[in-house]
């Protein structure tokens, strides 16, 4: 789902790639990437530049585990 409580959220593509390359555990991704993105706290450079206007993608998928 890319919506929770009506909010749109996404994690920067670059941060997702970083998490993939470094094989960050799912719990760490959830804590530092997905949840902060949901509440608009943590962003990578991409998100800082263009705020929330871009596309939304499914973030937490079974394949991420």
């Amino acid at each position: 789902m890319n919506r929770a409580d009506g909010r749109r959220f996404r994690v920067d593509r670059e941060l997702k790639e970083m998490a993939k390359v470094f094989r960050m555990p799912f719990g760490t991704r959830l804590l530092y990437l997905y949840l902060p993105a949901l509440f608009g706290h943590a962003r990578g450079a991409e998100g800082t530049a263009q705020q929330d206007g871009g596309d939304t993608e499914p973030e937490v998928r079974e394949g991420d585990r």
Partner: protein, 193 residues
């Protein structure tokens, strides 16, 4: 142990970037990938990191690797740092075994101690690259892939960063991609694209 690229080709937006590229990356060897903008340096590193798949050809691991996939310590072209976390935290979050204290001890070798605790969005380009370099070297890896790691650094900063990389890389093959052919990379095996 060797990482072998066999006749790898990749096109981006219909334009061929890599064509029938055959390369070997061996333990204890350093490689400098050089070329103009758009020559395929980043694409090559992304294929090695597993972020892109080649259109044809394959990447093979020859030897006694722990996993069937390649583990990489990476410096990304655009940093890929979590902007509101400090440099120390950006390093410690990627690996449970790395404490903040250990991350700080490493980071202050390249960064002023008072800068290490600032959110990375407050750091200069060179300082951000330093965080990326320390992060890449803080994980166990089969390959170190660094895309323009010295971008924005002065000669002195670059020399310190280069020295840090060489001291910490061990026997892991190192691939540094960049437009500029720095003097430090003269002893590296050259891969012109």
């Amino acid at each position: 142990m060797t990482i072998e690229l066999e006749k790898v080709s990749k096109a981006l937006h219909g334009k061929p970037v890599l064509q029938d590229l055959t390369l070997d990356f061996s333990t204890d060897t350093c490689y400098a990938v050089t070329g103009a903008k758009g020559s395929g340096k980043t694409t090559l590193l992304r294929i090695l990191m597993g972020l892109d798949t080649p259109d044809s050809g394959r990447v093979r691991l020859l030897g006694d690797y722990k996993y069937s996939w390649l583990t990489c310590g990476a410096v990304f072209q655009r940093d890929a740092l979590i902007e509101n976390l400090s440099g120390v935290r950006n390093i410690s979050v990627i690996r449970k075994l790395t404490s903040d204290k250990a991350a700080r001890e490493e980071l202050v070798k390249l960064l002023a101690p008072d800068r290490a605790e600032l959110p990375v969005y407050k750091l200069s380009r060179a300082e951000r690259r330093a965080v990326c370099i320390v992060r890449a070297l803080s994980v166990p890896a089969d390959l170190l892939a660094m895309d323009e790691p010295f971008e924005g650094m002065t000669d002195k900063e670059r020399a310190a960063a280069f020295s840090y990389i060489m001291d910490h890389k061990g026997s892991t093959p190192l691939v540094i991609a960049g437009r500029e052919r720095y003097a430090e990379l003269a002893v590296f095996k050259s891969i012109p694209l």
